[in-house]
Symmetry: none
Subunit: 227 residues, 2 copies
């Protein structure tokens, strides 16, 4: 359930929108001016903030500025018609999107969904970080560390190690390694996998003392041992 902070002084709109958001499976919190809105935004963690531009006490621009000074929560601005200048200011300050008012709750929720889709990857998304023993691997950064030390791998070496890490503790056949790591089926006398594994091992050995973390399983493939 996504927490949404709704900052707007239009009581009627807020009431309607809050109801609509609840109905659509969100968990909305409400603030009626920029000051208390910003306070809420900073004191709690929200998945998204809906922020009106025109408001008493502290307008949306200043509220956004206050929020952005400390947090990076996605913000969707609600702008009244013809506030074209504000639109640019809003964008420069780092609002993620804007909806021109007047608009229906349906339109707003569509935007909210779009932003959340971007900011929080769906469930089927892969983990950001995979750790096996002393080895930690970040697929989206193509980065590997062995107990804090960065391993300087080439891209193919990284691909192969990634496959092994994802199947840690199980034997991975050369055929699978070739398919997933090199992107082609294993040919009859192809020794590439062996050669790459050899160099990966050498790079790991620089930090691992003695133990062999990548084991060869005769005629079966390779396996990354998990502690």
């Amino acid at each position: 359930m996504n927490k949404v902070l709704l900052i707007d002084d239009d009581v009627e709109l807020v009431g309607m929108l809050k109801e609509y958001l609840e109905q659509e499976g969100f968990d909305p919190t409400v603030a009626y001016d920029g000051e208390s809105g910003a306070a809420h935004a900073l004191s709690d963690t929200y998945d998204l903030i809906l922020l009106d531009v025109m408001m008493p006490k502290m307008n949306g621009i200043d509220a956004l500025r206050a929020i952005r000074a400390e947090k990076n929560t996605p913000v969707l601005m609600l702008t009244a018609k013809g506030e074209d200048a504000d639109r640019i200011v809003g964008l420069e300050l780092g609002a993620d999107d804007y909806v021109p008012k007047p608009c229906t709750p349906r339109e707003i929720v569509a935007r909210v969904r779009a932003i959340l889709r971007r900011t929080q990857p769906a469930d089927n998304a892969q983990p950001v970080q995979i750790t096996v023993g002393a080895l930690t691997l970040w697929p989206e950064q193509r980065r590997v560390e062995w107990s804090g030390n960065v391993l300087e791998l080439t891209s193919t070496e990284f691909n192969l190690l990634e496959v092994l890490v994802r199947h840690a503790g199980r034997v991975v056949s050369k055929s699978d390694l070739s398919l997933q790591g090199l992107g082609r089926p294993l040919a009859r006398f192809d020794r590439s996998i062996d050669v790459h594994l050899s160099s990966i091992r050498q790079k790991i050995d620089a930090y691992a003392n003695g133990r062999h973390y990548i084991q060869t399983v005769y005629r079966m493939g390779y396996q990354l041992v998990r502690e």
Copy 2:
């Protein structure tokens, strides 16, 4: 699904653009001259019309005039190089925007989205701003910042970086980069992508200290690292 009418006699561009529009979730209809284009526009209801200026039978200006006589459908004009006068006329006649040719499908779709955002704020949700790590990109304004510093990119460099940003954390093949960023399929010995990437990297390196944010994945493509 937004219905888009595409009126242009450039068969190659139309083919590519149609495909691209479908891919991006639009429902394109095609006409190859002004006369049949205007007929389509008047006989059916579209959310937007893409209209080339230079065409056989009836040019874009006259087609626009014919359409505007009866309908108020948003129109995006495609103008060839140096048709400066035509631009103004086009806008005076009530075109909503124009794109100077040559341009990539990507650029056109960005404009289409911008217009639809104004005319029907709901469905075509597409955030105004995309942030990946220290990098923030505004597709509609064709503007990029690296932690507050504006990156002065050329048009092609921007296109390529935009593609990478939209696929942040995943590898994008040179073939896709060429198609989406340069608007043409990758040829056998084409090194353009590499050269552009090199200069984008240099511009980023001015602000990034040491780390490589655009990684090369040997034989696969490039990947923008995601924090």
